[in-house]
């Protein structure tokens, strides 16, 4: 009898063990991709989830460091030409070998996908792809181009054979969705499921899961419930409010990591009578205090970042003093989060001639970033206490972003003081410097998201020099200097905190929290 019992227990244990190393992984995701075409839409979920199927020449690891992928090595061979050596023995999912022709094909296809709402031309324009031999590609530009490898880490390579003449819908149906990645595309039923199956011939070794099933569950409470009910093995976007409770739940393990997203404030530094800067009674001013660097610094000092992190973000964020956190290229050790000091801030305001204060309205989204509306409210309270009575207006992102970027006359930004976030997709400091702090200049493509229209010739010169410096160490120093000037000296924007993202898995799994907020089956580890 006892023997039978032991056998049963052993059998059950075996069964359970088989369950843990389960072949299939089901993931509840907050946002589904908008397409299976890797060049149709430069959007977070697409760039993330499609990485199961397609690969890039250069990959970003979970900390967004560049690693070889389809290219084994790369180097500049002249001022304007980069050479990429391709990996040999890689096969497409349909069995054809991967060669330089596929890379060259991708270089042109990615440029013009019809009706693309956000084109990869951002990274591909101005680059000429040339096949040297089957496993060597040269990419040339007009001017020296240091960010070549970084930008190539955004472009997913497609098969020339499968994708020639293919439209976005052919990818969505799967006929053209041929990649080299660890998983093959199986199906996508919009709003219901995305499914991948293991690619047994993967060059990087046999992938862990036989099947990857992505279930889009946009409502956060439902996503958490699906996790607790065991319907899925993992979810992303765990709401901060649930973290404390989930920590105590034995059925769930949390994985957390800092993201590349900084939450910050823009201040209108262009207009002399900014519409949402008033005197204390709400009457318009003929002078814009936000143009004075001392006033901007005072505002930054009035914000108690640790308190925001502790109370509003439930401890799940890290106070920020610059554009990218420590592990990123271009982070400068010289900038730390501004210290909370109301008395010093008031003195600064007095020096600037605004000792009596003025009125302000902060605008922000209420469904874009983690706890965005609550952060705006907290900031308004802190400023009001510091002598700058501040009103709060928050709105859904679909209304907010258009008005914040081009809602004013002549398509200028409408608001005066806004809360926004920036995720460094390229994993280094040049992209936020170029987009947020460089002077708005349409012809150069600089300052596209500079919604406060901050402008400092010193920053512009440093950024431009950095963008033309191929040597990594020299470029790093230039990016650090640009940040020190743009934020430290001239307070072009006010950084608040870096977001921290949370994933939940069932026990026995761990997720290598990615800074780029992607949820990838490849980064799920089985732990004992």
């Amino acid at each position: 009898m006892r023997k039978i019992f032991t056998a049963l227990v052993a059998g059950a244990a075996l069964f359970a063990a088989a369950g843990v190393s389960a072949q299939e992984i089901r993931i509840g995701i907050a946002q589904e991709p908008s397409s299976i075409d890797p060049h149709y839409h430069n959007l977070g979920p697409n760039n993330g989830f499609l990485s199961h199927v397609y690969e890039r020449l250069v990959m970003q690891d979970s900390k967004q460091r560049l690693k070889p992928s389809l290219a084994v090595s790369w180097k500049p061979i002249s001022e304007t030409v980069w050479e990429f050596k391709l990996r040999k023995g890689v096969k497409w999912h349909d069995g054809t070998p991967f060669t330089a022709a596929d890379v060259v094909f991708t270089g042109t296809r990615g440029l013009n996908v019809p009706n693309s709402p956000s084109s990869f031309a951002t990274y591909l324009k101005g680059k000429t792809f040339k096949k040297i031999d089957d496993h060597t590609v040269h990419i040339s530009t007009e001017k020296p181009y240091p960010l070549m490898a970084t930008e190539m880490s955004t472009i997913m390579i497609v098969s020339k054979k499968a994708a020639t003449g293919a439209q976005t819908k052919d990818f969505n149906l799967g006929t053209a969705a041929i990649g080299t990645g660890p998983y093959k595309f199986v199906k996508w039923q919009k709003g219901d499921v995305v499914e991948f199956a293991r690619n047994d011939d993967y060059w990087g070794g046999k992938p862990k899961w036989s099947k990857v099933v992505l279930k889009p569950i946009s409502s956060a409470p439902t996503r958490v419930a699906a996790m607790l009910a065991g319907d899925v093995d993992m979810i992303d976007g765990v709401p901060t409010a649930d973290i404390e409770v989930l920590k105590k739940n034995a059925k769930v393990k949390l994985s957390q990591g800092i993201s590349n997203r900084v939450i910050y404030l823009h201040m209108d530094q262009q207009r002399d009578n900014s519409p949402f800067v008033t005197d204390k009674d709400g009457n318009p001013l003929d002078k814009n205090p936000l143009k004075d660097v001392r006033v901007r610094k005072a505002i930054s000092m009035m914000i108690n970042r640790p308190a925001i992190v502790e109370r509003v973000m439930e401890g799940v964020a890290i106070p920020a003093g610059q554009l990218v956190s420590e592990t990123f290229f271009g982070n400068t050790p010289k900038l730390i989060p501004e210290k909370y000091d109301v008395a010093a801030a008031k003195n600064l305001l007095k020096d600037a001639g605004w000792g009596d204060g003025f009125g302000l309205t902060i605008h922000g989204p209420n469904n874009r970033y983690i706890n965005d509306a609550k952060i705006a409210e907290a900031i308004a309270q802190m400023l009001t206490r510091g002598g700058i009575p501040t009103k709060v207006v928050t709105m859904p992102k679909n209304v907010y972003f258009k008005r914040a970027s081009r809602g004013g006359p002549d398509k200028t930004p409408e608001f005066s003081f806004i809360l926004v976030g920036w995720g460094s997709g390229t994993g280094e400091a040049s992209s936020p410097l170029k987009s947020l702090l460089a002077t708005y200049d349409k012809s150069k493509g600089h300052g596209a998201s500079n919604r406060g229209r901050h402008s400092n010739p010193k920053v512009d010169a440093l950024v431009e020099q950095a963008l033309a410096t191929v040597d990594d160490e020299k470029r790093r120093a230039l990016l650090q200097q640009a940040t020190e000037v743009g934020i430290g000296e001239s307070q072009g924007i006010i950084p608040l905190h870096y977001q921290v993202n949370t994933w939940a898995t069932r026990p026995g799994l761990r997720y290598d929290a990615r800074t780029d907020e992607r949820t990838l089956a490849m980064d799920i580890q089985i732990v004992k």
Binding site: S34, S35, Y40, H41, N42, L43, P114, N115, S116, P117, S118, S119, A121, T122, T168, K169, N172, Q189, K190, G191, D192, V193, K215, P216, I217, S218, S219, P221, T222, A225, A226, L228, A229, G230, D231, N367, P396, K397, N398, V399, F401, K402, R403, A404, S405, R406, W422, G423, G425, T426, S431, S435, K442, G445, H446, A448, S449
Partner: protein, 325 residues
């Protein structure tokens, strides 16, 4: 009667046109999706290119004219987000919503009528009173809250039903359906009950009131006097007579079940039209929003028309006439 139908159909064309104008204008006023769709790293040139690609650089009247011309050809435009025909996107999601709507209708009728009749026959009993109290809850509790409670109770605490989503589908009469398997039924149960709750309460109240009215009629008394069994009295004489208002109301309500499955679908991650429209509104995917509302308006018009016609067929005293202003 055919004149009546033709005139109603013509009116409905005008209604749909006015609606498309309102929605088109409304969404235009809110904004466009570019700032949400575009990658932040795009520069000004890329942003302009995306605006052109979606045709948003043209003045609004031109955009509308373009839409109208294509709509007359049966093309309601491509989704800004998915770059697929909006109509196709919606129709692909329709079976899921229909499945949910029919399931909840089924629950409302086959649970609501017996419960309502019981409460009508035994108004003073504890069960009868509990049914009526329950129906008040069904009316007044917000469905998103009930939905989350359902998930907490049945999926998380008891662990007997899945928390959301739709099961693997199979082909049935050319449509993808999920109700043919146990797994499918277990997935559909919670959202269907959630969606049915309001209708269920309505049906309970209607059947109870109907029963109480009918039970005192002369023909019931006569049937009893004649010695007809109580079972037959209730299942034939009472049931038949209370069904008329129930069927009418449910017919009219069916449209709103489909149109307002939005909340239930979002909470239960049910991949139907409601979830699509909510996400489209969230991202200002104008072609999908306009197409969806046009379909819904059209559906309401057809249902109303059918109900009117049925009425005149069922009850010869009713004459179909236009309401003159």
């Amino acid at each position: 009667m055919s004149v009546f139908i033709i005139r109603r159909l013509l009116q409905s064309v005008v209604v749909i046109w006015v609606m498309s104008l309102l929605v088109f204008g409304g969404v235009y006023l809110i904004g466009d999706p570019i700032d949400m769709l575009i990658n932040p790293e795009a520069d000004q040139e890329d942003i302009d290119a995306a605006i052109r690609a979606l045709g948003l650089d043209k003045p609004i009247h031109e955009q509308y004219w373009f839409f109208l011309i294509n709509a007359l050809k049966g093309d309601l435009g491509n989704s800004f987000i998915f770059n697929e025909p909006a109509l196709q996107l919606i129709l692909a999601r329709m079976p899921a919503t229909m499945e949910l709507a029919f399931a909840s209708l089924f629950i409302a009728i086959f649970l609501g009528v017996p419960l309502g009749m019981w409460a009508g026959l035994h108004p003073e009993s504890i069960a009868g009173r509990s049914i009526m109290t329950g129906s008040i809850l069904g009316f007044s509790l917000p469905s998103f809250w009930v939905g989350i409670m359902f998930i907490m109770l049945f999926a998380v605490i008891l662990g007997v039903l899945p928390a959301g989503g739709r099961a693997e589908t199979t082909e049935f009469l050319g449509m993808q359906v999920s109700f043919l398997s146990w797994d499918g039924l277990s997935h559909i149960l919670l959202p269907a009950v959630n969606l049915a709750l309001f209708k269920l309460s309505l049906v309970i109240r209607l059947s109870r009131a109907g029963t109480q009215e009918v039970i005192h009629q002369d023909y019931i008394k006569f049937a009893r006097a004649k010695g007809v069994s109580e079972k037959r009295v209730i299942l034939v004489h009472v049931l038949k007579n209370i069904m008329i208002p129930v069927v009418t109301i449910l017919g009219l309500e069916f449209g709103s079940v489909i149109a307002f499955a939005v909340v239930t679908e979002t909470i239960f991650a049910w991949p139907g039209m409601g979830k699509l429209i909510i996400e489209s509104i969230d991202q200002l995917d104008r072609p999908v929003i306009v197409a969806y509302l046009m379909i819904i308006v059209f559906m309401f018009i057809v249902i109303n028309l059918v109900v009117d016609i049925m009425y005149s067929v069922l009850d010869p005293r009713v004459r179909l006439q236009d309401v003159k202003a």
